[in-house]
């Protein structure tokens, strides 16, 4: 080989949470798998089967990302918090994260990291959650004893056991059987509103309460055992968004697939409105989005051609991972690179780069072409840092430049193909050539927007159609619709599916 196969694992700083694949950022996260994550089923409270199902799908989508990163295990979709906690105990987990249907843990890995950090500093804690003191806000819980919002709970299972495994009570109204609850003190500091105190702790005495909130009994039990409960801090809150699927449900259903609809402005809940607007914006810019750099690791999968040089490389038109795969497996002067993408702008970018760039100072080239392409905001305006990281991972500037020189002389073909909806077009191309053939599909099948727009059942069907067409001699890189490595699935029988929604 002209060049040693040098791919250096990233110490990277990239964070692009739009993909579900093992992210370059993962390299920075090293946590033990001590957390079980369960989804709390609140379908009863959601007046739309569409919204109920899709919120479950999307909550799982983000949980799945954490699972793929090896940070947690999935516990299931249950109507009772205590059932999920018991499942976590049965799996020998130390902690349980309860994500309510509609909670989007788009920075879930960071939330797990922060929660484990909290656990380390507060080893005897019982639960971290949204402490709600809605005395004045919500008419149904007006005057209620404080509670914990069911959207998110992080529970220390050892303490839960020690307290006798109390169930997580739902809100209640009482006339003849008003509970007697421990008196409490709320912090004067609040997290973001006057109903979200930073902590709650015990004061002397008990009082009778006619209205209770979700989790009031947990607060009562904790206080009686002299435990303080802390609210999530703002960093933790920034890791997730809750869609409140039981608010404006009919409107949410209307805009789920029609994000530009003016009804979005009528959504009364700000979290809901903000998220849909973000999705609408994301969808719009993804139409001609160009990925100069990859969001996934360059070398995680290793060499797969078993010593044979690549003759034909079929690749998504994204970043420099194609070069990394070519370099890791080896290629020759007659190798053909076949780029495919549903986005024509990505293909045009690749053509332009190959024709006009000399392999030096990519940051300068990107700056000069900044207005020509819709580059991802992850690195836009910060090209130098990302380019340096890229060179580093390829073994330095010289190694990259030599690789680029060899690569740009190869024959390149470009095809506009949507591999999810017209996979046969891709396989027609693959089957029309001979030799050692490699395919890299990146995270196309497991991307956030695809999963927002298409139900996992439909995606699975489309994936299986795709999988059926994969020829035996095709070497595989990329992920299936639930972010399982394609090679593991197709060649090694890791046939996983997604959890099914049930009400």
């Amino acid at each position: 080989m002209f060049l040693d196969k040098v791919i250096i694992p990233t110490e990277g700083k990239m964070k692009d949470w739009n993909s579900i694949t093992v992210d370059r950022y993962w390299e920075q996260i090293k946590v033990p798998n001590d957390v079980g994550v369960g989804i709390l089923n609140i379908s009863r409270d959601i007046n739309s089967e569409v919204v109920a199902k899709r919120t479950f799908d999307m909550t799982y989508f983000y949980v799945n990302r954490m699972i793929k990163m090896g940070m947690c295990d999935y516990l299931g979709f249950e109507k009772r918090v205590e059932v999920l906690l018991q499942k976590a105990l049965d799996k020998n987990k130390k902690y349980c994260m309860i994500a309510c249907q509609g909670l989007l843990l788009y920075r879930g890995p960071s939330l797990i990291t922060k929660s484990l950090e909290y656990a380390k500093n507060n080893p005897e804690f019982f639960v971290v959650g949204h402490i709600m003191d809605k005395k004045k806000q919500h008419y149904l819980t007006k005057g209620a004893y404080p509670g914990l919002h069911r959207q998110y709970l992080f529970v220390n299972l050892k303490t839960w056991e020690k307290l006798g495994k109390p169930p997580f009570d739902e809100m209640g109204v009482f006339q003849d059987r008003k509970p007697i609850l421990q008196n409490y003190e709320l912090s004067e500091d609040t997290i973001h509103s006057n109903y979200t105190p930073a902590w709650i702790k015990k004061t002397q005495g008990e009082s009778i309460h006619g209205v209770t909130s979700d989790g009031s009994n947990w607060i009562d039990i904790a206080l009686r055992n002299n435990m303080q409960i802390d609210n999530l801090d703002n960093d933790m809150r920034d890791c997730k968004v809750y869609l409140y699927p039981y608010i404006d449900t009919d409107k949410l259903e209307k805009v789920w697939y029609d994000k530009q609809n003016a009804i979005v402005d009528q959504l009364s809940n700000q979290a809901q409105k903000g998220w849909i607007r973000k999705q609408a914006y994301q969808e719009e810019i993804e139409k001609d989005r160009v990925y100069a750099f990859n969001t996934e690791t360059l070398s995680g999968e290793g060499v797969r051609t078993n010593g044979k040089l690549i003759d034909h490389f079929f690749s998504a038109a994204a970043g420099f991972k194609p070069l990394a795969i070519l370099n890791a497996n080896g290629f020759h002067a007659g190798t053909t690179v076949h780029y495919f993408d549903w986005c024509e702008a990505s293909l045009n970018y690749k053509k332009n780069l190959i024709e006009t760039w000399d392999g030096y100072d990519l940051d300068q080239w990107l700056l000069e072409h900044d207005l020509e392409y819709n580059f991802s905001s992850t690195y836009r305006g910060n090209y130098k840092q990302f380019w340096e990281q890229e060179m580093h991972e390829h073994g330095g500037q010289l190694a990259f430049q030599r690789l680029w020189d060899r690569y740009k002389k190869l024959k390149h073909e470009f095809y506009v193909i949507d591999i999810v909806n017209e996979s046969e077009k891709l396989f027609d191309k693959i089957n029309s050539v001979h030799g050692t053939k490699v395919l890299w599909t990146t995270n196309i099948w497991s991307s956030e927007m695809l999963h927002w727009n298409v139900e996992p059942e439909t995606l699975e069907t489309k994936w299986l159609e795709f999988e059926k067409q994969v020829p035996e001699d095709l070497i595989l890189y990329g992920h299936d619709y639930i972010a399982v490595d394609m090679n593991s699935r197709i060649r090694n029988g890791v046939n996983l599916t997604h959890p099914r929604y049930h009400d």
Binding site: D45, N47, Y139, E170, G172, V173, D176
Partner: protein
């Protein structure tokens, strides 16, 4: 009879509901002013089997409020005993509440008991009774709660409701109980009267309850019913 004839002439009409666009459980229960509300979500319950269970005990029923009723009898499934009166009549209400339990009647009526434990969306039961109105029987116009307690509260379930037997609320109209079984939340601060002008005993079940921590289950039933009723 003349009193009933006059009352029927004045108040026996169909009640017209005006449904708001958005479902709001508190509004329905506390503010709507609706005299009754059908819990359509419970329409598929085994009312006929429950009726058979109650009918089998027909000779066990106790005369009820004969000061303003004729042929009106009751049998308690959940309470202090098989003939439990209004709970406030036993002194300290809190103590009375603690003593509430299933009676032997519930043991004889497993389908009914299962409905009350597994389906009925409230955490606690207070007094639950079968209410019998014999053929030709009647309950004169009366008011169970004061005007200040105007809201939908107790649940009245028709296990049967033969043609000719009617439940009429003053100024509001007829409650459209179904002979095949139907459950209604009732605002019993309205003056109401029942008259069974059929040849068949009418058996209803009245549930007094406390929602407790099952308020969301109750709202679910209310919401499903609301959209069904609204059409």
């Amino acid at each position: 009879m003349e009193q009933l004839e006059k009352y029927w002439k004045e108040h026996d009409k169909e009640y017209k509901f005006q449904y708001p666009e958005q479902f709001d459980p508190k509004w329905i229960v506390m503010e709507s002013g609706w005299p009754f509300f059908r819990l359509s979500a419970l329409d598929n319950q085994p009312w006929k089997e429950m009726h058979k269970e109650a009918e089998a005990l027909i000779d066990k029923f106790h005369v009820h409020r004969d000061e303003y009723g004729e042929g009106w009898r009751s049998l308690t499934l959940h309470g202090l005993n098989e003939d439990t009166q209004t709970l406030n009549s036993y002194g300290d209400r809190a103590e009375t509440i603690k003593q509430l339990d299933w009676t032997w009647v519930a043991d004889e009526c497993p389908v009914t008991k299962k409905f009350l434990t597994d389906v009925w969306p409230a955490e606690f039961l207070n007094r639950v009774r079968f209410m019998l109105l014999e053929p030709g029987g009647y309950i004169l116009p009366h008011q169970d709660r004061s005007d200040e307690e105007k809201r939908l509260s107790v649940c009245n379930i028709s296990l049967n409701n033969p043609q000719g037997c009617e439940f009429v609320m003053k100024d509001q109209g007829r409650v459209p109980f179904d002979d095949n079984g139907s459950a209604f939340l009732m605002d019993i601060s309205n003056v109401h009267s029942v008259w069974n002008r059929s040849n068949t005993p009418r058996i209803h079940m009245i549930i007094h309850y406390e929602l407790g921590r099952r308020i969301r289950d109750f709202f679910y039933v209310l919401r499903q019913s609301y959209y069904t009723n609204r059409g």
